[in-house]
């Protein structure tokens, strides 16, 4: 096993960003080529990782180095590590990141404004995203998590649409609010957890692996599961879970914390929308699965119905909003809210099927939403208008584009044969099974959630019919000669995305093989430790 592959993934873009700073700003193509080279290099590293992946699962490609070790006298030692690794949760998301960043670079080819700044920020963002999906130390995770905000803020605020300033500030403030909630819990956790490997002295650690084991909590510390103090209606650990949940739910985003997303999407340039929907939202789901559930398992079980209901509300509310959207990008943004609800539902079921479905949904939605935003970008590039009502009968003028749109829409609405179907069916299986298997959730949840499927079929098919079929007609001052079919660069983005969607829709086994060991392990530990701790806390 090569123990440096993840570092290669993280630090290559950072080094390239540094190199980009030194290049003269006039050589616009050099930045594009440099970024593309980094993406292709990452793809190669990813191929090596997949080839040497141990099918048994578990954490692999682990790298561990001391980062901050502070001796604080009588209080003990503070330890933060450079601890990265990938498992059945991280690897699919890393693969998704590498692939989507490549698509985003191709989509960025048409950025002409301040090319140097744009690609430098894109490279920094790349490193931060991969870092977040691989960090196993809370402080390191938080560093990458926060480090994503600034490049994203500037990318939306400088290269975005007319209301970009409002949208970027809103995005930044919402996400920062979420990360502050996460920070509160992070501080509480590290002072409560010690590293069991060091004997004789007290080492407060940020390692998520140590935090996930209830034996590592210092007795009488704030998050000590054996001595959880009450604070209003809930005990401290339940509060901890709730804060983490809200923090990550803002990122996910979950209704009612989602309002930043449509604005950010509508204003962001196409490649940034792609990254935002395909990758940044996943960090919310990833954080729940990596941190909130394993660290506070008994609180997660306690709140599982709440989490599931919020998921269902997101599914339904997102779908209804999508149906009412007049702007194509806004529609896709709301469909993201709706689809990320499935992640919540799957995780809340705490069944192998549900959890695997949640991870599968994150991967699949990443690819599908990337494709949807590329599609919106293709149209916007031609006409600078995304109003759905202004188009009609596009299929006659843009046959190839219509095929791509069909693939993306059908995949997103969960038609069998596309990857979205596999993910959603697994989530439903999990949600149906949960009441019988582990007593969580209610039988009705899965039934209500299926309504979401009907709604998403409705808004996609309606949009399809309005924009692509019927007589060819354009409104709102769009000229007919601005409509032409896909060019080579656009094929280069859409075809690989479509292939992956179909591939993982028809033959999902390779991905499931990677996710499954994680899902089973996750379910087992969360259920077992959660129940044990639940007994200790509420005898």
């Amino acid at each position: 096993m090569q123990p440096y592959l993840i570092s290669l993934l993280i630090f290559t873009p950072l080094l390239a960003a540094f190199a980009a700073l030194l290049l003269p700003a006039e050589t616009k193509n050099s930045f594009r080529v440099l970024t593309l080279a980094v993406n292709i290099f990452q793809l190669l590293v990813l191929v090596i990782m997949l080839r040497s992946w141990d099918a048994a699962g578990g954490l692999q490609f682990l790298e561990q180095r001391n980062w901050i070790t502070l001796n604080l006298g009588s209080w003990g030692t503070l330890q933060a590590q450079y601890l990265v690794g990938a498992d059945g949760l991280g690897l699919p998301l890393v693969a998704l990141s590498v692939f989507v960043m490549l698509i985003a670079t191709i989509a960025s080819w048409t950025v002409y404004k301040n090319v140097k700044g744009y690609f430098t920020l894109l490279l920094i963002l790349n490193a931060a995203i991969i870092g977040s999906f691989t960090a196993l130390d809370f402080l390191l995770f938080y560093l990458f998590f926060e480090f994503m905000l600034l490049p994203m803020f500037f990318l939306i605020a400088i290269w975005g649409g007319p209301r970009r300033e409002y949208a970027s500030i809103k995005f930044f403030l919402y996400t920062l609010l979420g990360s502050i909630l996460i920070l509160i819990v992070m501080i509480g956790l590290y002072i409560s957890v010690h590293n069991p490997a060091t004997t004789g002295k007290l080492v407060h650690t940020f390692s998520l692996l140590d935090m996930s084991n209830p034996n590592n909590f210092i007795s009488n510390s704030i998050f000590d599961p054996n001595n959880a103090r009450m604070l209003g209606p809930w005990n401290v650990r339940q509060w901890g879970f709730l804060l983490l949940f809200i923090g990550f739910a803002i990122k996910l985003p979950m209704v009612p914390l989602h309002t930043w997303l449509p604005d950010a999407h509508v204003e962001a340039p196409t490649p940034i929308s792609v990254i935002l929907a395909a990758l940044l939202l996943k960090i919310g789901g990833y954080g729940l699965a990596r941190i909130a559930f394993p660290v506070f398992p008994e609180a997660a079980l306690h709140f599982s119905s709440f989490v599931a209901i919020m998921g269902i509300v997101s599914i339904a509310y997102g779908a209804l909003n999508a149906m009412a959207s007049k702007d194509l990008k806004r529609l896709i943004a709301y469909s993201s809210v709706s689809h990320m609800g499935f992640v919540l539902l799957g995780l809340a079921s705490v069944t192998p099927e549900g959890v695997a479905g949640a991870v599968y949904q994150m991967f699949s939605h990443g690819i599908i939403s990337a494709m949807l935003f590329v599609i919106a970008g293709v149209l916007y590039d031609r006409t600078h208008d995304r109003t759905i009502a202004n188009y009609s009968g596009l299929s006659g003028r843009m046959p190839a584009f219509t095929v791509m749109v069909l693939v993306a829409f059908f995949a997103s609405l969960g038609l069998p044969g596309f990857s979205g179907f596999i993910a959603e069916i697994m989530v439903f299986l999990g949600a149906f099974k949960a009441p019988g298997a582990n007593g969580l959730l209610h039988e009705s949840f899965a039934i209500v959630a299926t309504v979401g499927l009907v709604l998403s079929a409705a808004y996609y098919l309606w949009t399809m019919q309005r924009m692509f079929f019927g007589p060819f007609d354009l409104k709102g001052g769009i000229t007919a000669d601005s409509i032409y079919d896909l060019d080579k660069r656009e094929y280069g983005m859409l075809v690989p995305l479509a292939i992956i969607i179909l591939l993982f829709g028809i033959y999902p086994q390779p991905l499931i093989d990677i996710i499954d060991p994680f899902a089973r392990h996750f379910t087992e530990t969360v259920l077992n430790t959660g129940r044990n701790l639940g007994v200790t806390i509420n005898p």
């Binding site: 980062w67 209080w75 480090f147 400088i158 500030i169 501080i187 002072i191 009488n220």
Partner: protein
């Protein structure tokens, strides 16, 4: 300490005490020297900044030397002052801050007249009164030195007055109408605060019979009076004076006017030296009145409430500001709240983390003010005027952005590490005492960060995102940018390895 001593004993004490206060003696002699030299018209004005830097550097060296010589606190002047690692660390910070202030002053526009044409009135006046300016600067540093060493109420009062009186004059050093207004406000507010504090001190003296607040007698008497409202009132009154110095709410309203009108180097200086000196003596004093053991009056809660108010008022008022200097005034109020969080924890590591915060705070404050002054000299005095600067002056804007990000407390800057540390000690303190007010402070403090982001990003927002035409053409290799780069690097390095500084701070033993 023995109270009754023969003359011989007293002389012996004084003789013994001198080596411990060498830095302070040096500063005193230096400031007198500068005043005298200023009277001599033959002395060129360029000499003063460098003399001041040399004096401060020597003082820092001596202070470092004392640090190495003694690992135990050393008393001096019959228990009036004490040299311990806590005080020594602060003294080093003051000296460094003094040096940075002098650098900022020399970098101000008066020194770049040839590049810019007209001379700015403010800096011209600094030029004219240079010797006094530097003498006053040294006086404040001297007062700050003495304040953090004080173990006696009278000594604390005298040092505080030394700082205050010199500050009143420095605040008016722009010699404008506004400057005079700010200075007068500062003076009026300051004298009332001093009077209240002195009154509190006298009641405390009456209650305990001693002025030495680290004395056992002080603690035992207060313990006896632990439920006396008079004790509480006296304590509050005494604290009010310190709150005024650190611009903690509700004693903060003087700050914005003073900050707006005073010369930029002076503001940077005000937001670091007197504030940190106030925090230093506050930590000691609070420990002293708290040492009486369980009291009916919860000093931790009092400080928490003050910290919450300071954070909230500072941050929310900053939102509405249109001028960088006023914005920084409210920012400095809010930052006092964060420093107070370190004090509130009442834990040894809380004090250490507070020192880390103080050090980082100094670096980021000077970084931001360096560029506030830089852009002010180029004519950018309101926030909207920064529009488009990001392209015209890329590196200064980026460095300034790093400063603001650090003040907000986002990674990867030491500002984040500092916030992480002080809030850790607050969590820890809550874990031990289980007081809800601490949790409220924790949540308020961290949520305030979101508010802070909103205004800290305003200047970078205009600089990078708003399009604007700026006629400036920057010379990229200025000394500012070198100094700025050093400050930026220290902020980044302290994030990636805070151990470099914490290693030193760990050696600090904070005892009463």
């Amino acid at each position: 300490m023995p109270v009754e001593m023969s003359l011989n004993e007293k002389l012996y004490w004084i003789q013994q005490s001198v080596p411990g206060v060498l830095p302070e003696l040096l500063l005193t002699l230096g400031l007198l020297l500068i005043l005298l030299a200023g009277l001599n018209r033959k002395v060129t004005v360029d000499m003063f900044p460098w003399t001041t830097v040399a004096l401060l550097a020597l003082s820092a060296l001596y202070t470092g030397n004392i640090w190495h010589l003694h690992n135990q606190p050393v008393w001096a002047f019959s228990g009036m002052v004490r040299n311990d690692t806590f005080a020594l660390y602060f003294k080093l910070l003051f000296d460094i801050a003094g040096i940075l202030t002098v650098l900022l002053t020399t970098l101000s526009k008066a020194h770049r007249q040839n590049g810019n044409g007209h001379t700015d009135a403010i800096t011209a006046e600094i030029q004219k009164h240079r010797p006094e300016f530097y003498a006053l600067l040294l006086a404040v540093v001297l007062g700050a030195h003495l304040l953090v060493m004080s173990m006696n109420l009278v000594m604390a009062f005298i040092s505080l007055e030394l700082i205050s009186i010199a500050s009143y004059v420095l605040a008016g050093f722009s010699f404008t109408r506004q400057g005079a207004e700010g200075s007068l406000k500062y003076f009026l507010f300051g004298s009332v605060a001093s009077a209240i504090m002195l009154y509190g001190f006298s009641i405390l003296y009456g209650l305990t019979g001693t002025l030495n607040f680290s004395d056992v007698q002080f603690a035992t008497q207060l313990q006896r009076l632990h439920d006396s409202p008079l004790f509480f009132t006296a304590g509050l009154m005494a604290l009010a004076g310190f709150f005024y110095k650190i611009t903690a709410a509700p004693m903060h309203p003087w700050a914005p006017d003073v900050y707006e009108a005073a010369p930029t180097p002076v503001i940077a200086f005000f937001s670091v030296v007197p504030k940190l000196a106030g925090i230093g003596i506050l930590s000691r004093f609070v420990l002293a009145i708290h040492a009486g053991g369980p009291s009916v009056f919860d000093w931790q809660a009092v400080l928490s409430v003050v910290a919450i108010m300071t954070l909230t008022i500072g941050n929310f008022s900053a939102l509405a500001q249109k001028k960088p200097k006023r914005l920084m005034a409210y920012s400095s109020i809010a930052q006092s709240g964060f420093l107070l969080v370190g004090v509130v924890a009442f834990l040894p590591q809380g004090t250490q983390f507070m020192l880390f915060y103080a050090s980082v705070y100094m670096v980021m404050t000077y970084l931001v003010f360096l560029y506030v002054q830089y852009f002010e000299d180029l004519g950018f005095t309101t926030i909207p005027s920064f529009a488009g600067l990001g392209r015209a002056a890329l590196w200064p804007s980026v460095f300034m952005l790093v400063g603001f990000i650090a003040l907000t407390g986002l990674p990867p800057t030491a500002g984040f590490t500092a916030k992480l540390f002080i809030f850790s000690s607050l969590w820890e303190s809550y874990q031990i005492s289980n007081k809800p007010i601490l949790l409220v402070l924790l949540i308020f403090g961290l949520l305030n960060t979101v508010v802070a982001l909103f205004y800290y990003l305003r200047i970078p927002y205009y600089a990078f995102i708003k399009n604007g035409e700026t006629g400036i053409n920057t010379n990229k290799l200025t000394f500012e940018n070198l100094l700025g780069l050093i400050l930026v690097l220290s902020i980044l390095i302290l994030f990636f390895s805070p151990g470099l500084l914490m290693g030193w701070i760990n050696k600090i033993n904070f005892v009463l």
